[in-house]
Structures are given as structure tokens and as C-alpha cells.
Amino acid sequence: MKAIDQTTIVFTSRSANEGFARACTACFAAQLDPTLDEVADIKTAVSEAVTNAIVHAYPDRIGRITLRLRLLAGNLLEVQVKDSGVGIPDVEQARTALFTTGNEERSGMGFSIMESFMDSLKVRSAVGRGTTVTMRKRISKRREGTP
């Protein structure tokens, strides 16, 4: 699908960049004139994906995270979060609610939240190579002239 607009941001897997990634995504999405709820959903989903890259992909080193934002035809926002970390051995299991390999600071709900807050979620991963999470959400078209 051809992108109408696109931006790519590369940052390190430091936890301070979670807020940075949310802010970047909200700014890019602003051109779609989303509702406050839609912005909140998108920020939450990107926060989950980026936190996973920080916590799980690079457990004991600082790595690189690529956030690619695309605007597609039909008011569709695509958010892609890519890491070159440890990878996921069993994606289906990882996507199951409550499944976690993390410590008590994790609840195993990240993928479930991404799934329920976005229209689609695709996870591609290879052990030792990294993980790419791609999510899409259609933003409601608000009629022009209405407040």
C-alpha cells in the first residue's frame, strides 16, 4: 500500500524514549484530525510496542529501535516498531493474554492492549534477529464544518 505521508524515527532503547515515541506518534497522527480517544488509543498501543522493545528485545544492552509512521489511503494510520533484539520464539504464545517472560513489573497484557486499541496487529519475529510489530488504525472522518 502506497503511503501518502511517512516518517521514520530511530532512537535508543532507553526508557525515557517511551514518552518520546508516544509524542512523535501523536504529532504525526494529528494530520488525520483524530478524536482525543483515538489519540489516546494510538499512544497507548505505541507505548506497549516500544516498551516491549526496550524491556524484552534488549534485556541487557542498549539497542536501536525504529518507529515508522505511515499515512495510508482511507484515513488509515500505520505504526511500525522494529528492533534488532533477541526475537520471539513463539509469537502465538507471546500474543496470548497474561503470557509473560518478564518479572513482576510486567503483566503480560501488552499485545492484548495493542490488539484491542488498534484495528490490526501483525507481529513478525526471528530469534536472534529481532521483532517487527505493525499496527493499523482507521481514524474516523469527522465531517468538515462540524465542531
Binding site: D37, S47, E105, R106, G110, S112, I113, F117
Partner: protein, 101 residues
């Protein structure tokens, strides 16, 4: 200071504020644990009115606080939940475990 502790008859009311993500959760969790260990309250109310963003890291904070209160034989209530945090808690079904008001 992401938490503000208010002593009340019978327990504690703690107001949480700021963004509860993985970056902010650790400090908040430590402060909560310290406040609970100091006062050993029978009733704890967490007021989320100042929370501007929350993700799954916030769920873990709430569940850990619940466990701590259960160990004391006390109760936990979560109040003044902003819309965004509410959606996260609902998506995770946290209402089955914790009283959300």
C-alpha cells in the same frame, strides 16, 4: 514526586500523578511500597485523578499494590480514574480483581 500521601481515619488515600509507563513505574512502585510499609493501612484508596497517561506498566503497579494490601489483610480501592487509564484497565479486565470506582 509522583505520589501524594494523605492520612485518613482508618487508612491512607494516595494520589498518583504523571505518566505511569515503564519509565515512571519503578519510582512510583517504590514510593507506594514505602508508604504502605510505613503506615500499614487497613484501607488504601488510590486516586488516579492526576494520571495523564497509563499503560500496562500501570496495571503491574496496581496488581502489586493489591498483593501488598492482601498480605496486610487490608482493602484497596481505585478512584477518579481518567478515561485513558480506564480503557487500559478495562481492556485488561483489572476490574475483576480490584474495586474500580
Amino acid at each position: 514526586m509522583p505520589i501524594t500521601v494523605n492520612r485518613q481515619p482508618g487508612g491512607l488515600a494516595i494520589v498518583l500523578s504523571g505518566e505511569i509507563d515503564h519509565h515512571g513505574a519503578r519510582v512510583m512502585m517504590q514510593q507506594l511500597e514505602d508508604a504502605i510499609a510505613r503506615d500499614l493501612p487497613m484501607h488504601l484508596t488510590l486516586d488516579l485523578s492526576g494520571v495523564t497517561f497509563m499503560d500496562s506498566s500501570g496495571i503491574a503497579v496496581l496488581l502489586r499494590t493489591l498483593r501488598q494490601m492482601n498480605q496486610l489483610g487490608g482493602t484497596l480501592r481505585v478512584t477518579a480514574i481518567p478515561a485513558q487509564a480506564r480503557r487500559v484497565l478495562d481492556a485488561a479486565g483489572v476490574g475483576r480483581l480490584i474495586t474500580l470506582e
